[in-house]
Amino acid sequence: MNIFLRELRANFKSLLIWCGIVILFSVVGYSKFSAYYNNPELLAVVDAMPEAMIKAFDMDSFNLTTVTGFYGIMINYVALMLSIAAAMWGSDVVAKEERDRTVEFALTLPVRRSRLISAKLAAVFVNCMLLLFVSWATIIVMAQNYAPDTQFYNFVSTSLWAFFFMQMIFLALGIFLGAVLKQHKRAGSLAVSILLAAYFASILTEVSDKVSFLRYFTPFKYFDAQLMLREARLEGGFALLSLLIVAVALAGAYIAYSKRDLYI
């Protein structure tokens, strides 16, 4: 419990900064959206288009004259920010003890190594949940001016699950890297490389259908915004895949850390 509280306190500043980034981002986004909300010219254009074309280009889902469509565009960027935060926290929380030369002290405490990891995991998990909560609250509160309907609320709550899975994947990967890599300095940079590679893969899948198999390798593409909007659900298979990744990474982290040769 003490370790948990200590980690929470140590991460508090970083949490505040990330909350600030998310809030600033939403404020900027919504202020821009206000120019499009119920914009008569745009509405006229959309109305004049044939139904089939609207369907073909998914314009009904990402129609920028409604708050729901706006959120459909915003969703990718929120996911990106939450994932980065999770990856950074995860890779830092274990590795930092060796970096700050405090690992000997931490391990002389009368707790097992697995308990240490659990406490640290719990602390960063709480951080991720708080950040998720702040994002949710900001999105909902700022949407109040734009007549959100039930579809919007369903969309937002479904997307929260998608965010949750992405956060957990990157958090678990980060902790895994921190526990496994011999050189503590590598954990952060490797976590960054994985994140960049995943993001790059998600761009590639949009560019060409030849590489659609890449979808399985990038959490950014696990959860389709269309499906979340239309049917308010996630793809079960990808949710399972996420859980599997998280479970394997965490198990690996516990096993590796209990045998870890410390770098002092």
Binding site: S14, I17, W18, I21, L24, F25, V28, G29, S31, K32, F33, A35, Y36, E41, L42, V45, V46, M49, F57, M59, F62, L64, T65, F70, I73, M74, Y77, L80, M81, I84, M88, S91, D92, K96, R99, D100, G188, S189, A191, V192, S193, L195, L196, Y199, F200, I203, L204, V207, S208, D209, K210, V211
Partner: protein
């Protein structure tokens, strides 16, 4: 000179890693061009018939992916992200690493002024960044030529794109350095540089989709936006100036701050 050599040597490995990974990014991306071009020619025809407001609203206004340079512009954004992180890493770590690793007091006991230390370190970082850029230039040119088919590549926008990289990296190098000198202690560099680069990237990418300019004029991703360069065949001069002024101010402020910095030491 010794400091320069030492600093450059410590950056060598990271420089090579960055160069090779960005090279891979360009190669993978460009090799998809042929496949993509077939799909888009149809799309482009359809989009030409759309009203302009609609294209703006759906973020498709400046898109011209049917030419190889427009397509390269897509990859270019990703190259920018990578180069931005590299530059920000160097910037955040430039002088703060000495304090994190408790070597600052040793360094400052050498018979050189702080100004000289800073200059040598900066030169080493700039050299490493410059070499990365040269590598990227060559890789981009080679793959543009290989994958263009029988298309002609307009020379001027391509050169403008490629030559925007040094200024782009300068921004992240100097701003990173300034931030590292403003805070008391930098514990670890990566979260900071990730936050800075991706923060500015999302600000621009998202802000660009809709509405008027606001905060994103602060983002170098906006200053050197590839779609703008390709479309208008020139840099967005007022914005490039904003970026350059920010970089120079950050540079001057860093020298000033480092000259009077209270250095943390182990004892």
């Amino acid at each position: 000179m010794n400091i320069f050599k030492y600093e450059f040597k410590t950056k060598l490995k990271s420089m090579i890693t960055w160069s090779l990974s960005i090279y891979a990014v360009i190669l993978i991306f460009m090799s998809l061009y042929q496949n993509f071009a077939e799909q888009t020619s149809l799309m482009a025809e359809m989009m030409a018939s759309f009203p302009r407001e609609l294209l703006i609203a759906f973020g498709m206004e400046d898109m011209d992916w049917s030419t190889i340079l427009g397509f390269y512009g897509l990859a270019f954004v990703f190259v920018q992200i990578c180069l931005g992180i590299q530059a920000a890493n160097y910037g955040f770590g430039l002088v703060s690493l000495e304090e994190t690793e408790w070597t600052a007091d040793f360094l400052l006991s050498r018979p050189v002024s702080r100004r000289q230390i800073m200059t040598s370190k900066l030169l080493a970082a700039v050299t490493a960044l410059g070499l990365t850029e040269i590598f990227i230039w060559i890789a981009s040119l080679v793959y543009l030529i290989i994958f263009r088919g029988d298309e002609l590549i307009p020379l001027e926008p391509m050169l403008l794109l490629l030559f925007s990289l040094p200024l782009f990296q300068l921004f992240f190098l100097t701003v990173g350095m300034l931030v590292s000198l403003l805070v008391k202690r930098v514990r670890s560099v990566t979260p900071l540089s990730m936050g800075l680069v991706f923060g500015l990237y999302t600000l621009n990418a998202f802000g660009d989709m809709i509405g008027e300019d606001s905060f994103e004029i602060l983002s170098p991703f906006q200053h050197f936006e590839p779609s703008y360069i390709v479309k208008y065949n020139s840099w967005n001069m007022p914005q490039v100036t904003i970026g350059l002024v920010i970089s120079l101010l950050a540079l001057a402020a860093s020298y000033w701050l480092y000259g009077r910095r209270n250095i943390a030491s182990a004892v």
